[in-house]
């Protein structure tokens, strides 16, 4: 025995589902407003079918829902009746075809699996149109046609419709599984303060949550921690995890590290932990490459480092499309897995500073030793990378905030550098990092660069590479920012110092 519920427009599907689940665990959602139920065995609880239908309608009414109820021996018959008639309809088992015979043919398009979306496919409408052209008006007339002739003329869709018209089920009921909630809550007898006691509570909550995720082969994509405080407020934190994970210790550590940075402002009397589940990870390790640390380890490490060094102070550097000196961006550290072992790719960037002869030399080197690996050469008994580079590229140590200095210039060329601050007391020694000044032995420049003049972060300067007599090579620049004296690109300290010359970095 099957029942069908058809709710009024605007009904909450979840509410309709909960009403149906009160009567049967075997329900199938047929649409946002329609549900079919397997009512077998309910007679012993409620009595005959009509009583069950009344009970269904009453329960729905208690929840504020207006529903039609139909009960029949087959799901198809119940669905057709619930679309046709308001209120309660009960059909005795075995009489479905007879009772359906008088119903209009158009009902089939409501219950059929054949798409009747006018934008997607017109198959349902075309089928209905064909049947009407044949002079058929009711389900009984259609059901009476020979099945093989219907199949020959209308195909499988026609056969399916004819079975529906006879009240036969095209397939068994496929029960919908209730949505699983991955959530754990603990009411505390006494409010707790501080993260240490909270870590025990979180550990106790994470263990069953992790076991639940493992049973369902799910991982947490987002971790929600809700702390109900004694002040009647809720402190809620959500952590977007870099990869699906379900390790209880890793989840607890991540939640704690986040709460260290964003602590609740009162004692906690209820803790709820919930996760948004996602299918678990399938990991295939390689015998040929060194395995990367797991996402759990990496996310725990980066969370610890962020707590230690500050937000945005650790990650992977990224070049940005800008001419601004020293421009870069940070992004989360998420190394992709590599299938390359000791395969040293050609380094295009190193070619930028190399001479043509060096580039040619490297090309020659590449063609000579295509085999990847190591060799023992005549110079050394130790293995040496076969594709070792001839010359590296000189690196610069860049001061994130340029250091203001005094420079004596003749004919526009710097002659001497003093590291003492231009305005006494304006700068501390710590900003100088033990740099030494002195006479400039060689200077190359100026290289003029400017940009972003349309923004507040404009720069306009002459760069110099200078070598001092003590052997240290600096990159200096003379700031040429606008005539109003606004050195927007520099720090407040540098602006206060009203400096003109700055050290941008050290060649090292």
């Amino acid at each position: 025995m099957f029942g069908a519920l058809y709710a009024a427009e605007g009904t909450d599907p979840a509410m309709l589902g909960s009403v149906a689940r009160e009567f049967s665990p075997r329900i199938e959602v047929c649409g946002p407003r329609e549900i079919t139920l397997d009512l077998s065995g309910l007679e012993r609880l409620f009595g005959e079918a009509r009583m069950i239908a009344h009970e269904l309608r009453r329960t729905a009414a208690d929840r504020g829902l207006r529903v039609r109820v139909a009960i029949a021996g087959t799901r198809s018959a119940a669905r057709l009746f619930v679309h046709d008639r308001a209120g309660i309809t009960v059909i005795d088992s075995g009489t479905e075809a007879e009772m359906l015979a008088s119903l209009p043919l158009s009902l089939l398009s409501n219950v059929s699996n054949v798409s009747n979306d006018p934008n997607e496919s017109n198959e349902s409408n075309e089928l209905l149109f064909t049947l009407r052209r044949w002079g058929l008006r009711t389900l009984g007339e259609f059901a009476a046609l020979p099945s093989d002739e219907v199949a020959a003329r209308l195909g499988t869709a026609g056969v399916e419709w004819q079975r529906l018209a006879r009240g036969e089920d095209p397939r068994p009921l496929v029960p919908a599984l209730p949505e699983e909630r991955f959530e754990q809550t603990l009411e505390l007898d006494w409010p707790i303060e501080g993260l240490e006691p909270l870590s025990f509570v979180l550990g106790r909550l994470m263990e069953p949550l992790s076991a639940h995720l493992e049973r369902r082969d799910r991982g947490a994509a987002v971790l929600h921690v809700r702390l109900h405080l004694v002040t009647r407020t809720v402190h809620e934190r959500s952590l977007q995890l870099p990869a699906p994970m379900r390790d209880a210790r890793a989840l607890r550590t991540l939640a704690l590290l986040d709460l260290e940075s964003h602590p609740p402002d009162a004692a906690i009397d209820r803790v709820t932990v919930a996760v948004d589940p996602t299918p678990g990870r399938v990991v295939q390790f390689s015998l040929l490459t060194r395995p990367l640390p797991s996402p759990e380890q990496l996310s725990t490490l980066t969370a610890r480092l962020a707590a230690l060094m500050g937000e945005g102070r650790c990650g992977s550097p990224e070049l940005v499309d800008s001419w601004r000196p020293g421009a870069f961006a940070m992004k989360p550290f998420a190394p992709r897995d590599s299938n390359v072992l000791h395969t040293h790719q050609p380094r295009p960037s190193t070619m930028l500073g190399a001479s043509r002869a060096q580039v040619e030399g490297r090309r020659h080197e590449g063609t000579e030793t295509k085999k990847i690996g190591f060799l023992r050469d005549s110079v050394s008994p130790w293995p040496v990378a076969v594709n070792a580079a001839a010359s590296p590229t000189v690196a610069l140590r860049r001061f994130r905030t340029p250091i203001p200095v005094r420079v004596h210039a003749e004919d526009g060329r710097p002659i001497r550098v003093w590291m003492d601050p231009p305005s006494p007391g304006g700068l501390r020694w710590t900003s100088r990092r033990g740099l030494s000044g002195g006479r400039i032995e060689i200077a190359a420049g100026p290289w003029r660069t400017s940009g972003s003049w349309w923004e507040s972060q404009a720069w306009n300067r002459d760069e110099w590479d200078v070598a001092l007599t003590d052997g240290v090579t600096y990159r200096l620049f003379r700031d040429r920012t606008d005539a109003h004296g606004v050195k927007a690109s520099l720090s407040a300290v540098a602006r206060r110092a009203k400096a003109e010359w700055f050290i941008e970095g050290i060649v090292d």
Binding site: M309, P317, L319, L352, Q358, V394, R413, G434
Partner: protein, 244 residues
């Protein structure tokens, strides 16, 4: 009496796995295995280091400003990341130039960059050491570098020597090569290598003054090993990158 006391001490050290760092009876390192070291991808450098920096040891790169330490450091990170490893750089004073790193061929996605914040230098060093410990304890990195190149010597000298012993204890037995970069040798690890750098920039001095240009950096490296297993020197010429 003295011999028996020495034997007891050596046994105790061996039990605590400290024999490798504190005693003279060191088993020879199997340096012929390419997987036992991280190469610089510089023929001269790798030859003098007999393959590269040893894994599971604390090595050092020391020298004054403009000696080529950073060039070699970025070269090492580039070689490691191109070889499929992941690397970490604890940048105490936040002086990494990302353009230089890219020019050195570093796969930036495989580099974990930990940047120190502005503040008192003692606090910066303290945080950098904590970050180094965290990264080493996490494991899985091919190279982990602590850059102390711009830290004043007085601050470095105030660090207790046990700091480096602790670092050595964390890293030993792992596949990670730990590298300290500073103005002078700090850890003097028995198993690691200490590379001293001196450098001189090169210029096209023959050109007219207006056309003069910085062309590169010649670095002379000298390997200083307390056990003299590796000794020697090499000269490495780095070329200036005009795109920086």
């Amino acid at each position: 009496m003295a011999n028996s006391a020495l034997a007891v001490l050596e046994t105790a050290l061996r039990e605590r796995k400290l024999d490798r760092t504190l005693t003279t009876a060191l088993p020879p390192l199997e340096r012929s295995d390419p997987a036992a070291f991280i190469p610089f991808d510089l023929a001269a450098m790798d030859a003098v280091l007999r393959g590269g920096l040893p894994r599971g040891q604390v090595s050092e790169l020391a020298g004054p400003h403009s000696s080529g330490r950073t060039t070699l450091l970025l070269q090492l990170l580039g070689a490691a990341t191109r070889g499929g490893e992941i690397a970490a750089l604890v940048d105490t004073c936040d002086h990494l130039d990302v353009a230089s790193a890219s020019a050195a061929g570093i796969d930036l996605e495989r580099l974990l960059w930990i940047r120190g914040e502005a503040g008192p230098i003692d606090r910066l060093v303290d945080r950098a050491l904590k970050a180094l410990n965290l990264v080493l304890q996490a494991g899985g990195f091919g190279v982990v570098v602590l850059d102390l190149a711009d830290v004043p010597p007085r601050v470095l000298k105030s660090l207790p020597f046990t700091t480096w012993l602790r670092v050595q204890r964390i890293v030993e037995g792992s596949d990670t090569a730990c590298l300290l970069v500073g103005p002078e040798p700090l850890a003097r690890s028995a198993g690691g290598l200490t590379v001293m750098c001196t450098g001189q920039t090169t210029w096209n001095v023959d050109a007219p003054v207006r056309a003069r240009r910085f062309t590169g950096l010649e670095t002379e490296v000298r390997v200083v090993s307390p056990r003299r297993r590796v000794d020697g020197g090499a000269r490495i010429a780095a070329v200036a990158n005009d795109s920086q």
